[in-house]
Symmetry: C2
Subunit: 368 residues, 2 copies
């Protein structure tokens, strides 16, 4: 299963909106076939692995198939993988986690068992979920998994008072941040950051065959039509204001303007994430300023923090998230650290909302 | 040598102002004696190990002696360890680092070599220095090694605006913090923290046979005579103000008031650390508020940060260190991360001023 997970890791940047899946077929203690999900429209991992075995002249009959996600059981752009497996008749199928798609969940495995194939589940469940947490979130709760990237000093300062911020964390941290951009379906920022920094919002420090979509939260539709982010990558602007002329001009540049007012002059952020879920967005990478960060946290839109800290103290300077003054720590949203590591001269801390993770974990925990 | 380091670790809380030293004697691939430095006035590690070998009926002649610090060569409260080694005549002595004491540095090893004993140096140098960084700092530069403990949210907030701070980090982090208090020679805070929190400033969450000294920076000598920290543990109050009557009353409670004005109404902080070095203080654990922290950082008195971060974001709240507004990141004192780990639900980051560490490392790097 670890090998299957590693195969899925390799297609991290390319399968969206489909899940990243790896499959390894083992017979007589030899790998006779392996594969990972191809870009949308292409074959799924199981079919790639079955074809690989075939091309090697190996028979899958009696073999064990390891797959990181329950094989699909419905016709999408490709025929169901369960059918392909039933045709090959392995002795055993080992599945890391269930497919949260209600069309699939458990049904595929039931058909395999009915055909006499042994099915085992739950192997490396957490690793498999981490690989497709966004896909599972979209299927299960209808909205993407959202992480917020922060880069700051050890005392949480993101920029000097004069706005000089670009180099608080080092090159390795920036490159690592681009890995997270590259795996996401969309990179989201606020109009404040666009006006202040004119970011490109694309993946540059790592190689990727696919650029994520761009999203700007821009309540007043202030986006300058000269912004560097306007480079023909599909872009969504969420706004609370109607300006048909500007929207039409932006449409010519592959930009769609979506009006989602919250009735108080701002964008309805929870509605925005539901809209993104409906539009096939699995994972959102937020890289914004302290104002939008604060709003997203207050509205409970963030599942995970991806925090890079530089070994400096800055004292009086801009923070990472503007939040209301609290009277008690009981009112604080608590995250749970999951991963702590050095990245170049900086450190990276990941922390998630455990209840959000556990709800998804439960959704894909197949009762063996 | 690792075993010798582990023996020295076990006396972490008890040898001050002497260094923590471990010694292991090996012959024919068997440990025939081992020991660590006893509390001040008691025997040093080498003598404990030699006596251990003797009590086991083993002869050290021809053996290899591993010791984490160069054996002493001068009469202090105990006779020189070099003499004891020359009497036992091992074939080889392996030393992790030199003794920065100018009375010793290299001379002890020269005497061993002159007697025909093979001497190897520099094994596990960094680990050995970490164990006695304060002793080396005091010997080499005349002032203690100073670390600053910080406990904050992921965005560097140490307390809510209403002062509610006590539980930002969890129990495990607090207990770990007490391990650092316990190894220090002195715990230092500011009068602001005393007035706000009335801390006890002692070691409670770990067992220790020795309480560190207490130090309060109190420019105006405002210390309430009812403060909980006044519990007969030797305490130093550094002040810029003369008040002989209050000083006399405090003297009855094991408190010494030291006047070190900087001429601007504050305590001369660099002079304070030199004074501490002259008074046998190897390691200082700073646990103070953002005002004193800021002053200590501005005056370049801090060698290391010991930062505990809780997985929460607090936004608008008190910081960990009040620092002047910077115009450029080039003006920032850079630390270097050395150690990142989870501690209960929190994480602990250690970062040091690399040039300070390297200066000490050079001082104890014996040229073999």
């Amino acid at each position: 299963m670890r090998h299957a997970l590693a195969l899925a890791e390799k297609v991290m940047f390319t399968t969206t909106p489909n899940p990243r899946v790896g499959c390894v077929i083992v017979k007589d203690e030899r790998v006779i076939g392996e594969g990972a999900t191809q870009p949308p429209g292409g074959p799924h991992a199981e079919v790639v692995a079955l074809r690989d075995a075939e091309s090697r002249g190996e028979s899958v009959a009696g073999a064990t198939v390891y797959v990181t996600l329950e094989p699909c059981n419905h016709f999408g752009r490709t025929p169901p993988c369960v059918n392909a497996l039933l045709a090959a008749m392995p002795a055993r199928v080992v599945v890391a986690m269930g497919d949260p798609n209600p069309l699939v969940n458990g049904h595929g495995l039931a058909r395999l068992r009915a055909a006499g194939i042994t099915v085992d589940t739950g192997v490396c469940l957490d690793e498999a979920l981490a690989l497709n947490v966004g896909f599972v979130a979209r299927m299960h709760r209808g909205s993407p998994w959202v992480w917020m990237k922060l880069a700051s000093s050890l005392d949480g300062r993101s920029a000097l008072h004069n706005g000089k911020s670009q180099w608080i964390t080092g090159e390795a941290a920036r490159a690592d941040g681009h890995v997270w951009r590259a795996r996401s379906c969309a990179v989201l920022t606020g109009i404040g950051t666009v006006l202040a920094d004119d970011p490109q919002m694309n993946v540059r420090h790592v190689a990727t065959p696919r650029q994520p979509r761009k999203i700007v939260v821009d309540a007043q539709l202030l986006l300058p039509e000269t912004a560097r982010l306007l480079d023909d990558t599909p872009t969504w602007i969420f706004t609370a204001r109607t300006d048909a002329a500007k929207a039409a001009r932006l449409a010519d540049r592959n930009v769609q303007v979506i009006e989602l007012p919250d009735g108080r002059g701002k964008v309805d952020l929870p509605a925005m994430f539901r809209w993104l879920g409906e539009n096939d967005i699995n994972e959102v990478h937020v890289e914004a300023g302290e104002k939008l960060n604060g709003s997203l946290l207050r509205e409970d839109c963030i599942d995970e923090l991806l925090s890079y800290l530089a070994p400096v103290l800055l004292g009086d300077a801009a923070g990472v998230a503007r939040l209301p003054v609290l009277e008690s720590l009981d009112d604080v949203r608590r995250f749970a650290f999951t991963d702590v590591m050095a990245v170049g001269q900086d450190v990276r801390l990941r922390a998630r909302v455990d209840e959000n993770w556990l709800a998804l974990r439960e959704a894909v925990s197949l009762l063996g």
